[in-house]
Every structure is written in C-alpha cells, then in structure tokens.
Amino acid sequence: MSKTHVTCTVNGEETEFLCETQQTMLDVLRDDLGLTGSKEGCGSGDCGACSVVVDGRLVCSCLMLGSEAEGKEITTIEGVAIGDHLHPVQSQFLKHAALQCGFCTPGLIVATKALLDANPNPTDEEARYWLAGNLCRCTGYDKILAAVHAAAAEMRGESA
C-alpha cells in the first residue's frame, strides 16, 4: 500500500509522518507519533475522547484523515501543559475531582481549553452545550462544569 508523506506541526514541533490513505489523524497520533493521550471511544465523532485543535478549531481527530494534516498546526492533550506547569484547565480538573476513570479527560480538557480561548466567561448553559460533544460516563458532568468555571475565573485573573 503506498503511503502519503505529511509535514505538519504537532504541539509546536515540526513533524513528518507517512500514513496509509485510510488512516485517521487519531491513528497517526496514537500509532505512529506515540501520542496516546488522545483516546478512541467510538471512531465516529460521537464521544469526543479524541478531541484535538487543528488550526485553532476543535475537531474529533477520528473524523480527520492523517493525510489532511499537511501544513496544519495541531495541538493535542500532550501540548496543553506549558513545560512542567499544568494549564489552569488541567489543575482545576484535578482540584475539583472532575475526573473518575480519566479516559474522557484528555478530550474534555482540550475541548474546555478551546472553549475558554474562544469565550473567557461562558455561562453554565454555554459551557454545557460546548461540551455536549464530549461524553463522560463517570461523573454526571457536575464536577466538570465546576472545574470549567473555576478555570475560566483563574484564566481571567480572578483567582490564584
């Protein structure tokens, strides 16, 4: 099977890979680039566990082909923390016990960061609709929403 050569930026680093035509971006991230933080929960864009940001837009990486990444800038869960400093979304998820099994957590953190980058002060309804594409079966979302609002406040400089 012939493979496509792709050059893109992943978490700020120029990255090259060869992918089969049918390989999704999620397959490439997990199987070829060793970035297993993005999870496959459904493979059909319904669960959001594979959420990544591509050129500033939140997408399910299972719905994107690897070969579509050419020239694109991609941020995965592995690129959310800044060095050894957790992003406020990450630290507030921990502080508010917003994860139980943790499988949906990478996707939820990527999606929450994208929300707060676009809307620094979301209402509860706005946050709930933004995150409606990220399934969590453990928490009932209650503590996730608390973490989202706490992270938003922290990013606005309203709390330490």
Partner: protein, 758 residues
C-alpha cells in the same frame, strides 16, 4: 484509631486532596488498555455473526490464512472444549463453558455480534481485511429477542440442555427459562385482605449498556515456555487471570496479568471477551497480540444489563402502612443463563419493613448478548417498578411520598425479605435529609412535576490484599490489588496516611499486578473502599507497630512504652524516659541497623459491608407538544457510612444518578425484526450529555459502619437504583400520566398523553 465516633480527630479522612494518579490523567500520560504495547506485537481482529440465531455449518479460513501478513487464525476448535462448571470469579453467576462459548461460538451463534473466529496480522488493516476474508456458512434459525416471547411454549429454544431450575418436578423439556427463584415471608393473602388500597401494575425496562467510554483492549503474549502475560483494562486482574487459565486449560501460575488504567467499567469489565483470544492467537503465531474493540463491537458483543418485565402489587392501610407487597420479575439473561434476577428480587422491597411480602424471579435466555453486571445489577429494574407503584399508592391515599416511605422505612432491627436483620443503616436519615433540602422548597410551574424514589444495595466485602513498604527516606509505597476506576487510590492512601499520622503526599499508592500483590477480588459490589480499605488499614497498623518497635530498640525501652502520633514515635509518658521524638524519616534512616526493611501486608476476607440506602428527588418539566423531559433540579441523598474522600463519593452519586437518568429517558437496545442490533453507536444509543443536565446535588448522610475502621460503606451502586422511578414519578406529577415502560422517550410520552386524553 478504630473508634469511628472520633470524626473530629481525623486529619486526612474526610478531606479532599488531589488524587495521586491525577496528573498522569490530565496530561494524557495515563496508560489505558489500548495504550499498552509489547515488543514485536501484531494485531488481532474478530469475525462476528451477522445473525441472531444460526447453526455454523462451516468456517473457511484458507483465504485469510493465505494473505500476506496474516500470522494466525483461530476458531472455537483452537480453544479447549471445557465442561460446564459454575464460576465464582467475576460478578454475578457465570458458567465457565458458557463463557468459553460466549468468547467464541461453538456449533451455534446465539446473537448478532457473537464471535466465530479471530485473526492476527502484522497490521490492523491486514487483520481487518483477513477477518472479512473468512467465510462462514450459516443455517439461519428462528430467533427470539423479547423475554416474554422467549417464555412462550412455541418459542425457538436456544439451548437443548437448559431445563428450568427451581421448579418441582424437574421439567422434561428444555426451556428458555433457565431458573425460577422465590423469596417470601408472612401471609400475602391476609396482607392484601387487610389493605384499604391496592395498586397493581406491570412495568417494562429496556436493556441498557454500561457504555464505559473506553472499549475493551488488551495485549497478550504466550511464550514458548508456556508463560503468559496480559496487559489489559479490567475490573480485576485476578479475575482475568483466573478466566484465562480456566478457558485455556493452563495453570494460574503461568499467567501474569498487569492492570492498565481502566476507562470505566460499571460492572461491564467483570468478565473477559478478548484476553483468552489474544493469548490463543499469540500461542499460534508466536508473537504478542494486541486486540482492541471498536464501539460497534462493544455494543454488539459485550454487556449490556438485562431488560425485563416486572409485575407489582402493593397494598396499604389508609394511613399508609404497607400490608403486603408482591413482585414477579422476569429478566433477560442474554444468550446464556445468568441474569441478576437474584439481586433484583432481594433489593426491590428492602427499603421497607413489610410483614407480608414475596418476590419471584425468572431468568430467561434470548438471542441477545450475554448480560454483564451493571451497577447494582438487577436492582434498578425491579425498583423502577416497586417505587413507581409505591408512588401511585401514596398519591391515591393522599400521602406525601416521603411520609409514606418514612412510615414504612426499614430501620435497625428490621428483618429484610431476603433474610438478614439490618444494623446501622441510614435509610430514615436519607428521607429526613431529602425532606429538609432547599430544593424541595422550589415552586413548580406549569408542566412541571416532582418525583421521589428510594433505592437499596447490599454492598459487599470479600477478599483483598495490600502491602505497605517504608522507603529509605521515610516515604511509603502502598500496593493494593484493586483496579482504581473512580479515585480509590486516593482513598487508600488517605486511610494509610490517617493511621500513620502523615501527609497523604508521602504515600504513593499503586495497583499491583497479579505477581506483585496477594489475591484481590475484583472491583465491584462497591467493595474497594470497604474491603481493600480494611486490608490497607491492617497493613498500616502493622507498619505503625513495627515503627514503634524500632523506636523502642533505638531508645532501648519496651515497645509498649512507645506511642505513635502525628507521624512520629514518642515515649509514652514520663516513666518511659525522656527522648526526642523519632519521625518516620528518622526511623527509616536507621532501618538497616534496627532490623532491616520495614514493610507489612494486609489480607482480609471482609465481612459486614454496611448496606446502602439512597433517596432521590427530581423536578422535571415535560413539553406537552414533543414529550421531551427536561431535568430541572436533582437531589440525591445517600447514607455513605463515612466519606473518605467526599469529592469522589459525591462523584459516584452524581455519575450513578446520571446513568439512571439516561436509563430513564434515552437508553435502549433496539433490534430489527431480523434480530440484529440497530443502534450500535453513540449517535443512536444516546447516553446523557452535559447539555441534558442540571447540577446534581449530592447530599452525603453519614451513619458510620462499625465494621470498617473509619466507618465506610460502599457508595458506588446505590445511586443508579432510584432515578428511573423518581423521574417517572415526576413525569406523573407534571402530566398526570403514569409511564410504565423505559425509556420514557418523547414519542412514548406523547402517545401516553394522547391515550389519556391529556
């Protein structure tokens, strides 16, 4: 330390530290089942039946075997043909032979998605192509999906060796009814004769899937010397080890299972689907084999829990005193016997002190995937019916739903229908706390209603192991055998820290593999904080004793003259002598000179798990045009014994409640008339999403369990029991229509309202 009344003196238990495994999970480094890899691994894929019921005439694997990159193909002929034997390895009843046939069909396929063959190849894409190249010839047989139809005399019979157990005389003909079971006390007839009001109704629930977001995954290696290694996501590494050994006919000592992080289970990962197949493929190919299900496989081939039909009759005096209660509970087992009808029968009246009561259960096979445990298995199904009927009775008698429950509530000393006499239970406390909650003061508008329901779950104890070792610098490593699904490592470390009198950050808790910690029964039955917690406390107390002994040696005084507090040894009073305290760090540094490493193990077969009770109150609004139900506010009160880490206890309650809301409103397995599953995706099988829900107000009531060092009771399962009835009762309040069939989806509500002329 064992005085549970001393809550005020606790320094760690009851606080909310950041979980020790948390950072790995928020940065994407936690290793789940599908993240594991072994050197030289190849990739497995399965071939699944497209038919609900068919005889396998032939399987032609030659084309697949001839494909470049294909390293092994297996069918049931490659697995030992094992004898029928009851297994007590997982959660709920299971027969080893049935499980073997469920992994890979022998002779007959019994449901859409039943595995018939598996292949391993050098890439995922080759493995999938090879699976498609395997030709299976079927003789399609008549099928049956519904449990009531499966009980009919002319129904297609799935197994010619299943005869209804629990009836006398033994039937002469095989049947889809695998078992009948009955619990009874008092005199039903007299009880109903004494009633002023009787409510009688039939209810139906749909099978629902646990819908953990992580699909099943493993990587397995079967070495030339017979040594096997499996890395997988499961609710019990020892469960996986036992099943793999049994189903492959090898010794337990030849199998090592390493637990990966688990991405949700809820009971659905208490048995095996892939691991024995991956080992068999590895044996045949000589390479480690990785297998990962996709979501369609998960829906078609694993779980779900039973759907069922429940008939309930409850009678009461005008003052609300229940005089008699009767329930007939018919549960789907899926393709092989073993539904949770036992717990369904035992739980549904357990909240009440009823003199005359009976529950009868039927375990019925049909052409569906074999059911697996799902959070309080069986209880949500039967309790939906009984708590709906009680609500109807209360409304007809003009009694407040909390008051009728208080009137009949089980208390200490109440003998449950299923046998035991309750002690240290907190059901009444949950009702009182619900009554006092500010959410009950909220005014309801048009098309809005409030519903109340309660629920019960036994909680279990059982076998657990833990070990605790003091490091050279005075920090500690805590190993337990319980996979951590919802933050249990945090509570294990907190209990140890409380006993040692140190900060929880000084203890690193991990989940051991089957070769590094003693046997531990799986994570299920709400047992881990209770039972594994007791093993952790035992090990911690032993380490404290050793630390006191080392201090005594250093000071050259009696061990009894040393006391341990706040993480250090002190002389016990002036008579013991005057010494500066020795901290854990000081003693650890001198360990080599005072007797060597300091470490201890704790092993328990824990008894006395305190039963759990919860009371839920929900407000809903029903759109009369569309039948759509909006959850306005939700209050979930539960007796938790004592919350070790309150955030994760609240999380269990909130998560279980929302699963119950999904069960109530959206979730169901939908079959075509050909018997194939029609909604095997998260698009068509709709679990609750963030925008469906309000905040879930979890209220913790603490009636300590004296059998646990800190008073803990299991908390994970109770919260999924009340929501279906609570929501149904609220819908009645909003519309005047009694919904008796789950899910209470918009079309069903509109139809029910139209039928009632609303």
């Amino acid at each position: 330390m064992n005085d549970i009344s001393l809550k005020d003196t606790l320094k760690v238990v009851g606080t909310r530290p950041v979980r020790p495994d948390g950072v790995d999970k928020v940065v994407g480094r936690a290793q789940f089942g599908a993240d594991a890899a072994m050197p030289g691994q190849i990739f497995g894929a399965t071939v699944r039946s497209p038919h609900a019921h068919a005889r396998i005439k032939s399987i032609d694997t030659s084309a697949a075997e001839a494909m470049k990159g294909v390293k092994a193909v297996i069918t049931a002929a490659d697995l030992p043909d094992i004898a029928s034997e009851e297994a007590f390895v997982g959660e709920g009843p299971m027969n080893f032979r049935d499980l073997s046939c469920n992994l890979m069909a022998r002779d007959k396929v019994l449901y859409d998605g039943h595995v018939v063959a598996a292949v391993a190849a050098t890439s995922n894409s080759i493995a999938k192509a090879a699976a498609e190249a395997i030709k299976v010839e079927y003789e399609v047989l008549p099928h049956v999906i519904d449990e009531i139809e499966a009980m009919a005399d002319n129904a297609p019979v799935l197994h010619d060796d299943v005869f209804t157990a629990g009836v006398d005389p033994k039937p002469s003909k095989p049947s889809n009814v695998a078992k009948r079971m009955e619990f009874a006390k008092g005199d039903l007839e007299a009880g109903f004769a004494a009633a002023d009001k009787i409510v009688e109704r039939s209810y139906k629930t749909a099978p629902v899937h646990q819908a953990y977001i992580e699909p099943h995954a493993c990587v397995a290696s079967y070495n030339a010397d017979g040594q096997c290694m499996v890395i997988c996501s499961s609710q019990g590494q020892f469960m996986v080890r036992a099943y793999c050994a049994k189903l492959l006919g090898i010794d337990i000592s030849d199998v090592r299972v390493v637990p990966a992080e688990i991405g949700g289970g809820f009971g659905g990962k208490t048995l095996v689907y892939l691991e024995p197949l991956a080992l068999a493929l590895s044996k045949k190919s000589g390479r480690p084999v990785r297998m990962v299900m996709d979501r369609v496989d998960v829906f078609r081939g694993t779980g779900p829990t039973s759907g069922g039909t429940v008939k309930v009759k409850i009678g009461a005096k005008n003052d609300g005193t229940i005089t008699a209660a009767d329930a007939e509970i018919i549960l789907q087992a899926g393709a092989y016997p073993g539904s949770p009808m036992g717990p369904a029968c035992m739980t549904c009246f357990a909240m009440y002190d009823i003199e005359n009561a009976r529950t009868v259960g039927f375990d019925v096979v049909s052409n569906r995937p074999k059911v697996a445990a799902y959070r309080a298995p069986g209880a949500p199904i039967s309790t939906f019916a009984t708590e709906s009927a009680l609500d109807e009775l209360a409304r007809e008698l003009g009694i407040d739903p909390i008051e009728i429950r208080l009137k009949n509530a089980a208390k200490d000393g109440t003998k449950a229908l299923y046998g035991p006499t309750f002690q240290n239970i907190g059901y009444v406390e949950t009702l009182e706390a619900a009554k006092a909650h500010p959410n009950l003061q909220a005014k309801l508008g048009p098309n809005q209603g409030r519903g109340v329901a309660s629920g019960f779950w036994f909680n279990i104890g059982g076998e657990s192991s833990a070990s605790l070792a003091v490091n050279e610098d005075g920090t500690l490593v805590l190993v337990s055998g319980s996979p951590d699904i919802g933050g249990s490592r945090a509570s294990m470390a907190m209990m140890a820290a409380e006993i040692l009198g140190i900060d929880v950050e000084h203890i690193r808790p991990i989940v051991g593999d089957t070769a590094s910690v003693g046997f531990t029964f799986l994570t299920g039955g709400s047992r881990v904080t209770f039972a594994t917690g007791m093993a952790v406390c035992e090990a911690s107390n032993d380490v404290v004793k050793q630390l006191r002994g080392r201090a005594a040696k250093i000071w050259e005084i009696d061990e009894d003259a040393v006391e341990w507090r706040d993480g250090a040894a002190y002389p016990a009073g002036d008579n013991a002598g005057k010494f500066e305290p020795l901290t854990l760090e000081d003693i650890a540094a001198k360990a080599a000179r005072t007797g060597g490493p300091i470490a201890a193990k704790g092993t328990v077969n824990a008894q006395g798990a305190g039963p759990g009770f919860g009371t839920h109150v929900v407000d809903v609004e029903v759109d009369p045009e569309t039948g759509h139900v909006t959850i306005l506010r939700y209050t979930a009160v539960q007796d938790v014994g004592r919350a070790i880490h309150p955030s994760y206890v609240e999380g269990q309650i909130q998560g279980g409640t929302v699963q119950g809301i999904g069960w109530a409103l959206n979730e169901e397995y939908i079959y075509t008339k050909d018997g194939t599953l029609d909604n095997a995706s998260f698009l068509d099988y709709r679990v609750p999403v963030a925008s469906d829900l309000p905040a879930i107000d979890a209220v913790l009531v603490e009636v300590p369990n004296p059998r646990h060092p800190f008073g803990a009771k299991g908390v994970g399962e109770v919260p999924i029991v009340p929501p279906m009835a609570a929501v149904a009762n609220a819908i009645f309040g909003a519309t005047g229509v009694r919904m008796t069939s789950l899910p209470m989806s918009p079309p069903k509500i509109v139809a029910a309202m139209e039928a009632a002329g609303k």
